[in-house]
């Protein structure tokens, strides 16, 4: 059995999919896996050698952690999060786990302007792992101030810290099933439902209230039209097993990769469950 999938919207960091015949719990598992279990690269440890700026070390370290790093190639290249986490706790910054990013910045005492250091100024040890955006300010320096640090990035998962989550939005929604009883409806004399609809789903066509076919996916099922209708002619329901999945990434991975990777992670979890059942002798 195949699902029906249609791409409704697509850009470099955002995709909107229409899915038919997929059970809600399956779709929700995939969605939650995307948020919490797909690995990406992010800075985890920062070692400061000099910091005479007005910012505390931990403030800068926190900002660095939140900078999205390109992780497309890193997923194959580096060890999985579970192994690297241990290495990080023991302070072993090995090359098979960590990417080193360093930055040295100084505003000479003789200058009379303020210097801003950006994410693009970070020098990376692996060209495949670099900040997605070059213009994120890290710190500002007034004359005479200096900063120098080494930052170590590793793979991690969203469940450990949200900075490792590859998505900023992963959401699914129902699709409305709007039925209009033309015997009860008093259009075009009454257009209350059209006037109250916040998403402009309803239109008047041939003196009858109709659902605009290209706007139907925008319906939020708020049911304001139901309440507004004095004649109880409009009824809002939702279509069974038809959903819209919206994924917006942070730029670390492409939406396609996030979806495929989430399915892979989910699959391996189910496989390990089956393996454990076999080990216990519950199944063959």
């Amino acid at each position: 059995m195949y699902l029906e999938i249609r791409i409704l919207e697509k850009s470099s960091n955002r995709v909107k999919l229409y899915l038919k015949d997929i059970p809600l719990h399956v779709l929700n598992s995939i969605r939650r896996t995307m948020i919490a279990d797909v690995p990406t690269m992010a800075i985890d440890t920062v070692v400061f050698t000099v910091n005479s700026t007005i910012f505390y070390d931990e403030y800068i370290a926190h900002r660095l952690g939140l900078i999205p790093l390109t992780s497309e190639a890193a997923l194959e290249k580096y060890k999985p999060p579970e192994e690297c986490r241990e290495a990080s706790e023991r302070g072993l910054f090995t090359e098979d786990c960590f990417v080193k990013l360093d930055l040295e910045g100084e505003n000479p005492p003789s200058s009379n302007s303020i210097i801003t250091l950006y994410s693009g100024d970070l020098r990376t040890s692996d060209p495949d792992v670099k900040p997605v955006y070059d213009k994120i300010p890290i710190a500002i320096l007034s004359p005479g101030q200096m900063i120098s640090f080494e930052a170590y990035a590793r793979l991690g998962r969203g469940r450990e810290h949200a900075k490792w989550s590859p998505v900023s939005v992963a959401a699914h929604k129902f699709i409305a099933d709007i039925s209009i009883d033309n015997e009860k409806c008093r259009a075009p004399d009454c257009t209350d439902c059209i006037n109250v609809c916040p998403r402009n789903i309803l239109i008047i066509d041939n003196d009858r209230v109709k659902v605009s076919s290209d706007r139907i996916f925008d319906c939020s099922l708020c049911k304001v039209c139901e309440e507004a209708c004095k004649y109880r002619a409009i009824k809002i329901n939702w279509r069974k097993d038809e959903y819209i999945l919206l994924v917006e990434t942070t730029g670390a991975l492409s939406p396609k990769r996030v979806l495929l990777e989430a399915i892979k992670v989910l699959e391996s979890k189910l496989d390990s469950l089956v393996e454990s059942l076999k080990m216990e002798g519950i199944t063959k």
């Binding site: 007005i54 910012f55 213009k135």
Partner: protein, 66 residues
Amino acid sequence: MLFPVRCFTCGAPIGHLWEEFKRRVEAGEDPGKVLDDLGVKRYCCRRMFLSHVEIAYELLNFPKVS
């Protein structure tokens, strides 16, 4: 302090957009239109821009004692 790297609510990266936003608003453009143009759609991300105060630049006026 500095403009946040990400939106507090949804986690979308926004730090790289701040300087363009600031420049264009100071040049007299309507903040709402600039945000639409930059692709900042949700109101959680939009308030990050509209309510931000650049205190870090004030702090630079004070000498650091240490």
